[in-house]
Symmetry: C2
Subunit: 667 residues, 2 copies
């Protein structure tokens, strides 16, 4: 058996054995895609197992994340900190070889994948980041950033809409250093792919502006794979799709080429039969021939040399460009500039849309943070999220900081995740709050993977008015708050908006959702009310009751804080001492010590009324069983905003009436 075949069959049998031992997993993809992965990793991939975070390494994203054992096998053989014992602990509690690849769990894993299509969009984000960093930091003789981004997808990924969005944008942006393998095995979980798919994927990618190459026999034709990769690397003006025809579960006498090899262990007998068919010893399991180890070790050493060369280049760069070098070190470390802590953009006393206040704040912070880049889904004019005078990203303008994602919300979010995964940049993305639903799977992955993406969601209530119920968020605030590790802010005024942006930028261990109004909100006089930096505790006493112990507490968020303040005026005049709490972030408030929470919402004060333009369910945590909520538990309608707010009862009067009902004995 040639050394290549030995290596490839090692990957195949490791996958089979690990899935069998776990009695759970997907052996088919690793067995079919092992040749292309092997050729890529052994002959082309620029990386260094001894330093998985080398900034200029090539990125490899296994978009078809269910084939995780292919990746773990490669990482093990290449010398990453993935041992044979780790492979034997595949899919077990606290192992570093979970069912689907997870960033931060396994060294060398570049993206958490599994939900299909996400990895493809992550890879586009990485390729964008590479071009951006090259534009800002490369200098003559200092090609600090010059790497490829590879992804591997299957039929499932190819069918997902997010893949289409990402591929279309990648073609538009002419991301020539993006190379995607399409493991075309014609089999999906439920059977032959032709049951649900008959499109010409290659022609589709050509239509997107990609170079499309094909390998007719991906099971054994190593040199064809090798040539295709070389050809892909030479094309600098277009991303490349390499369609590799393979056999799922290659080698398995009974299951190769069928969906039986897709998502279940082959079975002890079929594993043995497959090993015989591959010319492999039936035992021991997890067998790695010594030649294979030696062969991978050689590649590892070569890789290390490339990395050390790059480190040396970076040292010289720092000397030649001390300022840029320091900035680069900072952004690669993910450190936030100290100016972000203290920046105080001006605020006027005029009523303002929080989206506009946000755009101003964002632009001010952007001047302090060159790493802040991002864009919108064809709504920059409405979300006010454009970075002024900082250029548009695109071919020949790789230094532009605004990315025009088009009407592709889902890919936009996943691309932002990819930019974060890459490192060196801090992305934001913007659209209307109602369309956060389109982005939701990617938002969840940002939260799961501690990615500091800033999601900007404007037009945050029925107060958008005439566009009607399809464009009016009702349940979105609560539904987004439900995602673990996502922090949502809905600021009440310009001052809170600035603090919300500050908090988002200072957060480095997870995503933040910033929710802004389309309509103007009143100025809150902070010389009378409390300072806006209370936002960093999630909630704070904005306006105190006239008496030392309030009789009622009104809790508002965003534009409804003004409603609460107006209601307070009425109640105070009626001799009901009323406190107003601004609660821009429930999640942060929930994390405060009990003593602080009790200080803001004293347990003895049970007359609590929340007011928020959204569903009331979920507010019980703060209003308590004896409290009440003013909100909206049905869909919106098309009409001017003032009409809607009146008809839906988002009014000071309704808040006042609710308080009075709570304070009166029952009829």
């Amino acid at each position: 058996m040639s050394i290549d075949a030995l290596c490839i069959n090692t990957l195949r049998t490791l996958a089979m054995d690990a899935v069998q031992k776990a009695d759970s997993g997907h052996p088919g993809l690793p067995m079919g895609a092992a040749p292309m992965a092997y050729v890529l990793w052994q002959r082309h991939l620029k990386h260094d197992p001894s330093n998985p975070h080398w900034p200029d390494r090539d990125r490899f994203v296994l978009s078809a994340g269910h084939g995780s054992m292919l990746l773990y096998g490669l990482l093990h053989l290449m010398g990453y900190a993935v041992t044979l014992d780790d492979l034997k602990a595949f899919r077990q509690w606290q192992s570093n070889t979970p069912g689907h690849p997870e960033v931060g769990v396994t060294p060398g894993v570049e993206a958490t994948t599994g939900p299909l299509g996400q990895g493809n969009a992550n890879a586009v984000g990485m390729a964008i980041a590479e071009r951006m960093l090259a534009a800002r930091y490369n200098r003559p003789e200092f090609p600090l950033f010059d790497h490829f981004t590879y992804a591997l997808m299957g039929d499932g990924c190819a069918m997902e809409g997010i893949t289409s969005e990402a591929a279309s944008l990648a073609g538009h942006l002419q991301l020539g250093k993006l190379i995607v393998f399409y493991d075309s095995n014609d089999v999906t979980l439920d059977g032959p792919a032709q049951v649900s798919m008959s499109e010409d994927v290659g022609a589709r990618y050509s239509a997107y502006g990609w170079q499309v190459l094909s390998v007719a026999n991906g099971d054994t034709d190593i040199s064809a794979i090798d040539s295709a990769i070389s050809e892909a690397k030479e094309e600098s003006g277009r991303p490349t799709l390499i369609i590799v025809k393979t056999t799922i579960g290659f080698g398995s006498p009974k299951k190769a080429g069928t969906s039986a090899a897709h998502g279940s262990p082959l079975g002890v007998e079929e594993v043995a039969a497959t090993k015989r068919a591959l010319g492999w010893p039936e035992s021991p399991p997890f067998y790695v021939p010594n030649e294979v180890r030696a062969h991978f070790l050689k590649a590892e050493k070569a890789n290390r040399g490339r990395r050390l060369h790059w480190e040396e280049l970076l040292s010289r760069y720092r000397r030649a460009n001390p300022q840029l070098g320091a900035e680069l070190d900072r952004v690669l470390a993910g450190k936030v500039p100290s100016a972000v802590h203290s920046l105080a953009p001006p605020i006027t006393s005029a009523p303002i849309e929080t989206r506009s206040a946000a755009g101003a704040a964002q632009n001010a912070f952007a001047l302090e943070m060159p790493e802040l880049v991002g864009g919108d889904a064809d709504l920059g004019g409405s979300t006010k999220s454009v970075l002024k005078d900082l250029g548009s990203f695109g071919p020949g303008h790789w230094g532009g900081r605004n990315i025009h994602f088009g009407v592709r919300e889902h890919a936009m979010a996943a691309i932002a995740n990819g930019i974060c995964y890459h490192g060196g940049l801090r992305p934001f993305v913007a659209t209307f709050l109602v369309f956060s639903d389109y982005m939701r799977p990617a938002v969840r992955l940002a939260a799961m993977n501690h990615l500091p993406v800033t999601f900007i969601w404007t037009h945050d209530s029925i107060a958008i008015g005439e566009d009607g119920p399809t464009h009016q968020p009702i349940e979105h605030l609560m539904a987004m708050r439900a995602i673990p590790n996502l922090v949502i802010f809905r600021p009440a005024d310009a001052a809170e908006t600035i603090e919300a942006w500050r908090s988002a930028l200072l957060r480095t261990d997870g995503p933040t959702g910033l929710v802004f109004t389309r309509q103007k909100v009143p100025f809150i006089d902070r010389t009378v009310c409390a300072a806006a930096d209370g936002l960093h505790c999630g909630a704070y006493v904005l306006a105190e009751a006239s008496a030392s112990t309030p009789k009622a507490i009104l809790i508002g968020t965003g534009s409804e804080v003004a409603v609460a303040l107006e209601a307070r005026e009425v109640l105070e005049k009626a001799h009901v001492p009323t406190r107003v709490v601004s609660m821009p972030s429930m999640e942060l408030f929930a994390k405060q010590p009990e003593s602080y929470r009790d200080a803001v919402l004293p347990p003895a004060v049970t007359c609590r009324v929340s007011v928020e333009c959204g569903i009331t369910w979920g507010w019980e945590r703060w209003t308590g069983s004896a409290g009440a909520s003013v909100g909206i538990d049905r869909f919106g309608a098309s009409a001017p905003a003032s009409t809607l707010l009146r008809e839906y009862g988002i009014t000071p009067q309704n808040v006042v009436d609710t308080v009075r009902r709570l304070l009166s004995p029952r009829d």
Copy 2:
């Protein structure tokens, strides 16, 4: 001016005037797309304004819903119940001309659109429904179902992933009676489309297997539009995309061809200037020439004749095929067969996965309900949602009741919506609960539009085990419950599963989400516990406390009801009288009278503990301020299910400990 030009300019000026009067809206698309819409509606569309529900009418979906005034103008001129006063009330409170088209609000509107891409997928659903109904009801000489489905999309729709998914599936299914206009005006909200889009949409659709036709001058070349439609109708084996190059805001001297015409009123002066340029009287606004009215009236009369002819055909059909005729009348009326009320599929006492119990129930109901059709996103084997022996839908097998959607969750849900919009069928769609996120925008529209889609979501907790956090729902139950008018069921056993399916099928005014386990749940002995039909109240006392007044109440859903029952045993032995409440549907329980809710959860019993494999937030509504929740407020992990449940504390012991903590005085 020719009569065609007069009619087209009437549509253009009505749109301009209505948007101007509302001071809000999108004039650009109606002005550009008026010619193609006029030719379609005037010369081709089979419909009857006097009976907007004629089952065999052609369907027209304005996927680019922001161009609503185009549709309202057509409906007005065609003779639907949309008056000139209605047009003048565009975007006003309780008018029938809301900002985006809404089904049920405006006669003649076939789908609620606005969130981009949804309409395209709805249209695919309608085209599927047409083929299905034709296969089951058409008989020689009785072509009861033989209509086209048209959609109109813009650049925004073309960029959305859901459109790609739907178009790929439509090509695969060879839906020859689906015809989509692509209003290619090269302008989106933020500017020229080329800022974010350079793909070849026609080539992409060809790759999907569509016929692609082009009209070079869609602003004035009426006959080219007419020919393209005719050619599209003649192609029976492929859907057709007609790319029509147009000028957004055609006629506007200053704004035509720019994004300024997209989403804002033209302004009083520019409206006047545009009318002059179009050779139109500047006043009055909303001017409709008499010749135009007469011309549309003629078309209306011809249409009525076609409908009356069809009614007569149906009468003869009923006589020739009385049984089928009665069934057809029933399904078109959306009436559920009475057998659904009483059907009692057998239950055994063995532990069972609720997904499997669900599959059995679903198949039993399917035999009583020929209108029950649907499918899954390449997970039929896992969701157990396949209708056995009832065939796969596809070319030449239009009678098949299983639709293989492929890995296209978002389009799947929106296609189900389209099938509902069409009428005559009751769709279900299935995937894993975690992927409900991919479908969310379409689920919301099902809820908003009262569409009785059944969403099947299996693999409903960390108990899926090894696939890990990317596949483990945590926040999804609560996030789905947040959508107004969506009813979620998470049944505890086979008996509740049957009732949940029954409830879903009996519901005709909105969607139902059915949430099932991957793992087995214990049999609940209903001779000891309460009957499962308590499910129809949302929650019910499953196991009563030994004392007349319980000291503790445990509230469980789905697989955690068994955890609660086990905990109850322990507590009862320790002399804590404990009631167990099964709460398969929070939404239904919330709708019960207070007396019932207080009977199930007596206000006096404040020691209440919920147990659910998901976020705890939101449970306060039922546990009250003095209660507690056992749940999961972080992401899952990859490991065997039993390990995960132990590590995450979803155990009877943890429930018992929580009760004891609540009952003991604080430390």
